[in-house]
Every structure is written in structure tokens, then in C-alpha cells.
């Protein structure tokens, strides 16, 4: 359970007990929680960071995990930089978040940081802590999301909002080992990080440097029982022969729309696992879990969730709860929620036979001659074809209708071995689309590709939609 009011993350981990048997494992080291709770990965220099605004920027996720555990309750503010964070944004962050200390495992931070008083090198090595953690501060946790201006948006959370409504594991007969494909410095990964550590489980963190197969092998070696990622992470994972090494009890999807194809695929691949898809966003927090194995969610869920209020307005999901972030940081930042406290997620819903289905993002809509198409709704249909492993629908400029939709598709069969079957598969996929979608949503062209780019967020890379209305 989350730490009681006023407690720090370190206190919460200790309260979850069984410290000597639990661990956090990264690509370079594994640390037991017993050594961690009474130790320091910052060479005992954390005391000097009391009340400071600390930017944590590490190459290694385990190193970041150790620093965050040590600094929550000591620092006034923690700014979490994910692995793909770019040097060019550093001066902006330092200024906007009033950063006066940096904790990093990087050898050099490049640009002029004369305004930052303290630089502390961190690593995965733990030494016994010889300082008193003293009175716990209510540390602000700053998460970065991609902004429209090119600069990252800074979303302010607290440990209470990040760790709120985390369910305890109950009386599990065996120790749980969580893992996530997400970077733990992004919302989806951070929730898993906190969930594991505050509920008495262990954690295996991913690495941006290793490949998918390496991560799956490492996760399997540590006996991962519970694992989360985006649908794109999972589609990638299931294309790897190493996916068979995992034997999870619990598989979780969030961050993108979980279509029926990926849910069914995971169900048949991991027949003994509970498959759960969840709605969450950095700003709105976690709203709900869906456990019935079906895409979308029952309409009756709205108004029925205990801690989360939901409503649908102008077609998009709005959320108000204790898990919603506090605000955006920065002088020019817009309010994060409306006057009524609801966050507009920008995720569009469609009601069909008593169930809401996510159709896409408001800012991703393609305008085909005045008619709207969400790429995700077309992808969900294409993904139903048994030969399709993954697809990306995008806009193609067109002089007649402004735009058309086209699809890039990864097949189960390698491209080189298609042997003239490409035309037949293309016709089959288009036939599937014509049977399920209005004409303007049917792709004008299908391109078979070997790979599709996935962003460091775990989501598919989508082009900015020049023709959205």
C-alpha cells in the first residue's frame, strides 16, 4: 500500500516488509531492498540535497530508481528525465523547474550549467547511509511529456497521486516479480515501479540499450510474474522468439488502444495469465482496468468506479480523481484540467452495444474530404488479419480530398519469403477493411514493411497530422 500521509517512498518500501528477499534488477546490477533502504547510492551526499530541486538524469534505469528512492522525502522536487531526454532541453528545464542540483551517471552534461550549484554522480553501488533522513518533505515529482512547442511539458505529481489506489497483492503464495517494458521515468513505468516496491514485490527494469530479446531473457531469468507495456511493446515482444521464455501470471497493457487482436494474441500466447488493459495518462493518472479480455470497456463503468469520476464530453473521455496530476510547471503553462477539475484526455470514444471503444486521439484525426478517420480504428481492423503482426495507418496528402489513409503493415511472414503472395494478402486485408469500415476509412494503399518505429514512450511514432480538423 502507499505510504501513510507524510511518509516517504523509502518508508513505504520498508513498511511493505520482507526486504532481504526483494530486489530491483537492472541490466548492470541487482540490488536487494534490505541494503537499499538503509543505504545510499549517492555517496551519502543526499543530505546536501534537502529542500532542493533535483534533476535526475541517468543512462541506467536502476541507477535512477535508487536515486529516486533515496531522494523522495529529502528533495523539494524531483525532475525525472527519461533515457531519450536531450541535452538541448536541459537549460529550459533547469530554468522552469528551478533546478539547483543534478544527479546523474553521465560523464558530462555538456552545456553551460553555471546556474546549477550541485552536481552529484550516482551509480548502482550502495554504501551504508551515515546520515539521518530527518523530517520527510512532500516531494514534487515532475514527469516530462512531449509538448507541442518542442519543449517537454512538465507534469507535477506527488507520491500520493502517483501511488494512489495501488492495490495490495493480497495473500500471494509466492513472491511476485514485476517488470515493465516502459522506462520507469515515464508514467506507465513509474506506476509499476511504485506498485512493485510498495506492495512487497521485486522489480526488473528494462533498458533502452539492450534489444527486446535481451530484455525478455533477463526478465525470464528473474522469474518475472507480472509485466506491463504498451500494445506496441507487446506486438514487438510477441515477434521475438524469446517471448516463449516468459511465463507471466499477469499481463498488462496501457498507453495505447488495446485492440481485440492483441488481446486475443496474448491470451493464446500466455494461456495461464490474466490479461488486463488499463486506461492511464501522465496527466489524468490511471482511470480503470478492464479484465474481461475484450477491447473497450463496459459503458456501465462510467459512474461506477470508486476513486475515479469519468464523463464523456465532445466525444472524449474526461477524468477527475486523486490520481490526476496537480498542474503543469512553467510560467506559460496552460491549466491541466478544466474549471470543474476534469482532465480532457483527448481520447475519443464511440459507444456501441453498451460498450465504449477508444477510436483514437482528437489530435490524430485524419480529414478525408471532410470525413474524419482515426488511424487506430483502421489499424484495429487490419490487425484482425491472421497474417498481420502490426500496422500503422497514416495520412497521405491528396489533391482531391486533402488526404487519404494508407497503411504500413508488418506481416508474420518475412517479406523476402512472400514469393508473390503480397498481392493476395493486400486484397484480403482491403476486403477485411471494406467489410468493416465506411469507404473513406479504407486505406488507398497497403505497404508491407519490415519494421515500424516505436518511440521511447513505447507508442507508435505517428506523423503530425497536417490535415486534422
Amino acid at each position: 500500500m502507499p505510504p501513510s500521509d507524510g511518509g516517504s517512498l523509502s518508508d513505504g518500501i520498508a513498511a511493505a516488509g520482507n526486504l532481504s528477499d526483494r530486489f530491483v534488477s537492472g541490466i548492470e546490477a541487482t540490488v536487494t531492498l534490505g541494503g537499499l533502504v538503509g543505504g545510499s547510492s549517492l555517496g551519502c551526499r543526499a543530505e546536501g540535497l534537502r529542500g532542493r530541486s533535483v534533476l535526475v538524469w541517468t543512462r541506467d534505469q536502476l541507477t535512477a530508481a535508487l536515486a529516486l528512492i533515496e531522494l523522495d522525502g529529502i528533495a523539494r522536487r524531483l525532475v525525472l528525465c527519461p533515457s531519450d531526454f536531450s541535452f538541448e532541453h536541459l537549460p529550459f528545464l533547469v530554468d522552469a523547474a528551478a533546478v539547483d542540483a543534478i544527479v546523474s551517471d553521465l560523464p558530462s552534461l555538456g552545456p553551460d550549467l553555471s546556474g546549477v550549484a550541485t552536481f552529484i554522480k550516482c551509480g548502482p553501488k550502495i554504501v551504508p547511509a551515515n546520515y539521518d533522513r530527518g523530517v520527510r518533505l512532500r516531494t514534487e515529482w515532475i514527469l516530462l511529456t512531449s509538448g507541442t512547442t518542442g519543449q517537454p511539458k512538465m507534469v507535477v505529481h506527488s507520491l500520493a497521486s502517483l501511488a494512489g489506489a495501488i492495490e495490495s497483492n493480497g495473500a500471494s503464495p509466492s513472491p511476485l516479480v514485476w517488470s515493465t517494458f516502459y522506462d520507469i521515468r515515464r508514467y506507465g513505468g513509474l506506476r509499476i515501479f511504485l506498485r512493485a516496491l510498495l506492495t512487497g514485490a521485486s522489480l526488473v527494469v528494462s533498458s533502452t540499450e539492450g534489444c527486446m530479446a535481451d530484455f525478455l531473457i533477463r526478465a525470464a531469468a528473474y522469474g518475472v510474474t507480472h509485466i506491463s507495456g504498451t500494445p506496441s511493446h507487446w506486438r514487438r515482444a510477441l515477434m521475438s522468439p524469446s517471448a516463449h521464455r516468459l511465463a507471466p501470471q499477469y499481463v498488462r497493457l496501457s498507453g495505447e488502444i488495446a485492440d481485440q487482436a492483441i488481446l486475443d494474441h496474448l491470451r493464446s500466447f500466455y494461456p495461464h495469465a490474466t490479461i488486463v488493459h488499463a486506461f492511464a495518462s501522465t496527466e489524468a493518472g490511471v482511470a480503470f482496468d478492464v479484465t474481461d479480455g475484450l477491447a473497450g470497456f463496459p459503458a456501465g463503468l462510467i459512474g461506477k468506479t470508486a476513486d475515479v469520476e469519468m464523463k464523456v464530453e465532445d466525444g472524449s473521455l474526461r477524468i477527475r480523481s486523486i490520481l490526476v496530476a496537480d498542474r503543469y510547471l512553467g510560467g506559460q503553462a496552460k491549466p491541466l484540467s478544466g474549471a470543474d477539475g476534469f482532465v480532457d484526455t483527448g481520447d475519443l470514444l464511440e459507444l456501441c452495444n453498451g460498450r465504449y471503444y477508444f477510436v483514437g486521439r482528437r489530435d490524430g484525426v485524419i480529414n478525408v474530404g471532410g470525413l474524419k478517420v482515426s488511424p487506430e480504428e483502421v489499424e484495429a481492423v487490419i490487425n484482425r488479419h491472421p497474417q498481420v503482426r502490426m500496422s500503422l495507418v497514416r495520412a497521405r496528402k491528396n489533391p482531391i480530398t486533402g488526404a487519404l489513409v494508407v497503411a504500413d503493415v508488418i506481416l508474420a511472414t518475412p517479406l523476402a519469403t512472400l514469393n508473390g503472395h503480397a498481392g493476395k494478402l493486400e486484397r484480403e486485408i482491403l476486403q477485411l477493411c471494406r467489410g468493416a469500415l465506411p469507404r473513406h476509412k479504407v486505406p488507398a494503399a497497403i505497404h508491407f514493411v519490415g519494421d515500424l518505429p516505436i518511440a521511447p514512450t513505447g507508442k507508435m511514432v505517428r506523423q503530425p497530422c497536417v490535415t486534422s480538423s
Partner: protein, 81 residues
């Protein structure tokens, strides 16, 4: 395949895919009377860009929009030169 025959082939194929009744293809056929709507024309233009490598609608500035099939073919033949 010539520009003309490629265009005729795409008109025929798209009409079939989109379940449209295509009028007999003659050079003086006005495109608005061809049986194809704007979505069909958009798909044809996209496919022709792939097969012929040109999109005269965006390549040529302030070009008069072709009204008949013959003008449409000529439009592409000029752009492909």
C-alpha cells in the same frame, strides 16, 4: 504500359473496388459523369502517383482541373514528359 492504358486500368479497377458503375470510357466523357465520386478520383490519383511517379495536381501550379477523361489523360501525359 503507356500513361493512357495505366489510367484506364486504374479507373476500371477502382470502380470495381468501390462498387461503382463506370460509364463507357471515351475521351469526351466528363469526369463528373463517369460514375466515380471524389473519393474514387482521390484513390486513382494516389495510385497513379505510385505507378507513374507523378502527381500533376500538386506538381503543376494553378493548372486548370481536367474536365474530361481526355484532358485528364493529357494532363498526366504532359506531366510525365
Amino acid at each position: 504500359m503507356s500513361v493512357r492504358s495505366e489510367i484506364i486500368a486504374q479507373f476500371t479497377q477502382v470502380a470495381e473496388e468501390q462498387d461503382k458503375h463506370l460509364a463507357p470510357l471515351a475521351d469526351d466523357l466528363e469526369l463528373v459523369n463517369s460514375g466515380l465520386d471524389s473519393l474514387c478520383m482521390a484513390v486513382i490519383v494516389a495510385r497513379l502517383e505510385d505507378s507513374l511517379g507523378v502527381d500533376p495536381f500538386t506538381a503543376v501550379e494553378s493548372a486548370a482541373f481536367p474536365v474530361t477523361l481526355g484532358e485528364f489523360i493529357e494532363f498526366y501525359e504532359n506531366a510525365a514528359k
